[in-house]
Subunit: 160 residues, 3 copies
């Protein structure tokens, strides 16, 4: 009988650089210990999956406002603490560089190389007016049912 793989399922709700870093560090760790890992991006966490380039799509007025106010991609996200109008993220990125740690965009790439399943929550994409072509290519799209199916047999479930 084959042993079932352990499973780590993370809801990334937060749009903060530091919290997303924590999510991806845990996800990459779990993947390297051979867990099946899913990160389910919802609400502001979707911003980590946005392409940096402005993708021209037609949107309603409110959706356009959200799109403009929210950061385009992991590298543009702010900190949950000590953001200081964008100075905090610079400090963090400087110490990451100095200590040879891995910045968030590369943590996301690494996760993809390790087959971490990156899921965008379709319900909140709809709410915030985000469209598939604005998000990274090759990710999955799903709703709360798929999240629960992953999580209910999981070993490590986190909401970040």
């Amino acid at each position: 009988m084959t042993e079932q793989k352990k499973r780590t399922t993370i809801v990334l709700f937060s749009g903060d650089y530091d919290k997303a870093m924590a999510a991806y560090i845990i996800a990459n760790g779990a993947a390297s210990y051979d867990h099946e890992v899913t990160i389910f991006h919802t609400f502001w966490g979707l911003n980590a999956l946005r392409k940096e380039k402005l993708i021209p799509v037609s949107k309603g007025f409110l959706e356009n406002m959200f799109a403009k106010m929210m950061p385009r991609g992991a590298d543009k996200m702010g900190l949950s603490k000590m953001n200081f109008a964008g100075f905090g993220p610079k400090m963090i990125k400087n110490v990451i560089k100095k200590h040879n740690a891995v910045p968030l965009p590369q943590l996301i790439e690494l996760a993809r190389e390790q087959d971490v399943k990156l899921v965008a929550c379709t319900m909140t994409m709809d709410l915030l007016g985000l469209q598939e072509k604005e998000l990274l290519d090759g990710i999955d799209y799903a709703g709360v049912a798929a999240y629960l199916a992953d999580a209910e047999d999981g070993n490590v479930n986190l909401f970040i």
Copy 2:
């Protein structure tokens, strides 16, 4: 032998509209997949259970200040991001309406119809000076011991 029901237990610590929405969406999803679901409201999460109407109760000075500064009920809660002095919640409520999504007060009603157990943490009620008659009727009251009893055999445990 009857199979044991799966169990989802959520600590709702946050008093943010968007985080509470996420908690109740997951809870309602889990309930519709036949999980036993508990939302344990503690600290600012208790505000989601407050009645909208001002209930006259006698309180100490500090408790009165907390009561006045905290939102009365789910509909009055702010956003964790982009709150913009109350404009953010209006935007979210507008897109919820536009996309036929379910606003938070109705998500809470739906949870009650689905027998999601709504618990108010008695220890933090005491700290913040909230009294039973200020909270929705028919909810449960418990402390950390009851939370742990629910959570320790659970499948999905989240802190939101």
Copy 3:
């Protein structure tokens, strides 16, 4: 055959007084119900483990800035909501006192007496420039691998 102990593993990412209180209340509850409990302090959660006294250590410029801007120890941490430039924490501490609840520094002491394992995340210590002698004596030091080893067989896993 001896029954295996239940296990509660908490990631304390937040540097907020109220969130750290919630983490330590759950941890102390779980320990008193005979769980094996670990609190893994990462990012701003490390501040809960800092000694109050200024410990003279040599640091780089950025690390010095972080050290100066971050609170030294649990008692100096702010609130996640209604911080009001430090007035909120005073209010909370006053109601804690009034209601004979346990303030955060004592919750931490209690956790240590109950053998809750307090771990400092070495990767984020490095990033934020925190050194072992600045943190409470007798705690553990580990990385994400140790966290996952604890969490993957756990009953209650939370990210706070």
